[in-house]
């Protein structure tokens, strides 16, 4: 299993080409659009502008107006047209840009896209990639900071990828564009400028295969998206206290790689799940339930969830930073699992 070592500050491994998280996504989309003429791209500001986060930079220049289309502010139509085009054999990338605005299109995603293959008894398929950036950065506030991955992972028929590194963005995006199901591809807006090694040669990362982002022996920390880098910082703090942390990055939460998580827990005996989303009914609750149901005998301590506190995201820089798990908070909570304070 290959892991790419990248951090929010942009420190990277030596010896490999280094590009940003945003560039890795563009590269994957470009390669797949060259490979498969059925793929086209639509969203707000994704054409000449290259996307709010430069996540589609250069695609319009190469593929033109027909295959890279700017849309009005109409997320429901973008998504519904994507479903219709998918039914005719196209493979649309619908870029909603901000994950928050998938709410405007939720009916099309949940009621139409996720169900049609099943209820048509396999007669139609819906190869549709919904791309959107989640999470907070610099006080993006209540309408631009959401972390809805658990919602989508709740729905049968959808797949959900949440990459944490440039390496994973490229490999997962390419897989997503070869998968003929609706895929919700959630990038983290705070990671777009982060850098990491990304091979120029082709590679795919299968869905449902977690990465061991950091090997360790005392406690398993499951983290996703931006929280992987925060967990790395927490792990460094804990290492100074002689607690060895293993970080598991599921990379996709639908499908979820239960086996890698359970194997890690079998080794460490302790499990904490870090999530920028809320604890209630979320990914952390799901993983905790799996650990209790299928790894109960391996657990030496109660399972811990370290999640964003249950309040709307706020503009207040102090309060918003307090709501979301920090490295210090994670380190303190994990240390407490060992009776240390």
């Amino acid at each position: 299993m290959q892991t790419a070592n990248t951090t929010l500050s942009g420190k990277v491994q030596e010896g490999s080409r280094v590009i940003t998280y945003a560039e890795a996504g563009v590269e994957a989309v470009r390669e797949e659009m060259r490979r498969n003429p059925a793929i086209f791209y639509m969203g707000q500001g994704v054409g000449v502008r290259g996307g709010n986060f430069q996540q589609s930079r250069g695609l319009h220049k190469e593929f033109g107006d027909a295959r890279v289309r700017d849309t009005p502010i109409a997320e429901r139509a973008q998504t519904g047209l994507g479903v219709g085009a998918a039914l005719t054999g196209r493979h649309p990338i619908v870029d909603i840009v901000f994950l928050d605005f998938t709410l405007e299109a939720l009916g099309e995603i949940v009621q139409q896209a996720s169900t049609i293959h099943y209820i048509s008894n396999g007669r139609f398929k819906v190869p549709l990639l919904i791309r959107a950036a989640g999470g907070g950065i610099r006080s993006t506030g209540p309408h631009h900071s959401h972390t809805f991955w658990s919602f989508f992972a709740h729905i049968p028929g959808l797949k959900v990828a949440v990459p944490s590194t440039p390496y994973d963005v490229k490999g997962l995006m390419k897989t997503a564009l070869r998968d003929e199901n609706p895929v919700i591809f959630i990038e983290h807006k705070a990671l777009y400028n982060s850098k990491g090694p990304v091979p120029e040669e082709e590679y795919l990362i299968p869905f449902g295969k977690a990465a061991i982002a950091r090997p360790g022996k005392d406690v398993t920390l499951v983290a996703l998206g931006k929280m992987v880098a925060i967990a790395q910082q927490a792990a460094a703090l804990l290492e100074a206290r002689n607690i060895s942390v293993e970080i598991i990055d599921p990379r996709t939460i639908a499908p979820l790689d239960k086996a890698t998580i359970l194997q890690s827990v079998a080794k460490t005996g302790r499990l904490a799940i870090v999530d920028e989303a809320y604890a209630s009914c979320g990914m952390a609750a799901e993983i905790a339930a799996i650990a209790v149901a299928e790894g109960f005998d391996d657990l030496d301590a109660p399972v811990l969830r370290i999640c964003t506190l249950p309040a709307p995201h706020t503009f207040s820089p102090t309060v918003d930073a307090y709501l979301v798990p920090s490295a210090e908070k994670i380190a303190a909570d994990v240390a407490a699992m060992f009776g240390r304070h």
Binding site: N36, F40, A66, R67, R69, T71, P72, A74, R76, A77, Q78, T79, G80, L81, G82, V83, G84, A85, A86, L87, T88, G89, R90, P92, G107, E108, Q111, Q112, T115, I116, H117, Y118, I119, S120, N121, G122, R123, F124, K125, V126, P127, P156, G157, K159, T175, R178, D179, E180, N181
Partner: protein, 335 residues
């Protein structure tokens, strides 16, 4: 661009072949719905059906202008659209019974009839994503370099939903080959259209999107046929979408079991039944000397046999085994 109301005196009677084909489709829909009601009342049919009787001229007139590889996205009241687009009576009836020989393998039922063989992109349990799905199919066809046309049927209720605005606006902006057909039957479930919107002329809303809009007598299949022909032609030539509002009426309640009389006057229902689109075509064709009583009677007999066969076939078709309950949640192949 202004919407206009057509006048049927300009319509000349088409050739016998066309007239009889339209009649056959309308009778097929009518008899299908009557048979479906009959089976529903035996308790054998799961769910709830929304029957289309009274509105047959819309599906028949529009779909007569389509090719097999064109697309249709439909509504909760979708049996007529499915049959007119080419879903067989056997496959549709079996689907209504949740049986494995249904067009969706029994998994979709009345509100999720699907058939890729004839471009039928689903009846739908939601109002009105079909507008978006049809526009998307039109976009797909354009990107594929094909010249297929997509049609969205929706009701007056759908015209007040946000998807109407988003979908028609985007289709118009991109000049997509799609025809939006509003079946204005005057009631969204029980809500009279006049209480649901200030501007009850749906066709006039086309002006807001810079596309042609036309209001037609939806109980006159020849008028529907003519206007659909113009709209489909425009779409196929790359001239963009058209909005057609068909004024029509459902004879029965919103769904089977709703008598439809608590919110509609008996006189109103009777006046619309007197404007039966099936009888009208037959009378006009006989009057015009295009076809004879015997021609129509032969179709009536033929369709009665088709529906007897369809019902027997559907009732004999088994229900799905639970062993396949998780099949097709995901498309397994990765390209």
């Amino acid at each position: 661009m202004k919407s206009k109301q057509t006048t049927d005196n300009a319509i000349s009677m088409p050739a016998a072949e066309t007239v009889l084909s339209l009649y056959r489709t309308m009778v097929l829909i009518r008899e299908f719905e009557l048979k479906a009601r009959e089976v529903f009342r035996t308790g054998r049919m799961p769910g709830f059906i929304h029957v289309y009787i009274g509105e047959e001229a819309v599906a028949a007139g529009v779909c007569a202008q389509l090719r097999k590889d064109d697309y249709v996205a439909s509504t909760h009241r979708g049996h007529g659209h499915a049959l007119a687009k080419g879903v067989t009576a056997r496959a549709a009836m079996a689907e209504l019974l949740g049986a494995v020989d249904g067009c969706s393998g029994g998994r979709g039922g009345t509100m999720h009839l699907y058939d890729p063989e004839c471009g039928f992109l689903g009846s739908n349990g939601v109002v009105p994503p079909g507008i978006l799905i049809a526009a998307g199919a039109a976009l797909g066809a354009t990107l594929h370099g094909g010249n297929q046309v997509a049609v969205s049927f929706f009701g007056d209720g759908g015209s007040n939903n946000g998807a109407f605005h988003e979908g028609i606006n985007m289709a118009a902006t991109w000049n997509l080959p799609v025809v939006f057909v509003c079946e204005n039957n005057m009631y969204a479930t029980e809500m009279p259209f006049s209480q649901a919107t200030k501007n009850t002329n749906v066709a006039s809303r086309a002006a807001a999107y810079g596309i042609p809009g036309v209001q037609v007598d939806g109980n006159n299949v020849l008028e529907v046929l003519r206007e659909a022909g113009k709209a489909v032609g425009r779409a196929r030539r790359g001239e963009g979408p058209t909005l057609i509002e068909c004024l029509t009426y459902r004879w029965f309640g919103h769904h089977e079991g709703d008598p439809g009389t608590s919110y509609r006057e008996k006189d109103e229902i009777a006046s619309w039944k007197a404007r039966d689109p099936v009888k009208r075509l037959k009378a006009e064709a006989i009057d015009g000397g295009v076809a004879t009583e015997q021609d129509f009677a032969a179709i009536d007999d033929e369709i009665r046999d088709v529906l007897e066969d369809a019902a027997q076939f559907a009732l004999a078709s088994p229900l799905e085994s639970v062993e396949t309950a998780l099949r097709h949640v995901y498309q397994e192949a990765v390209n």
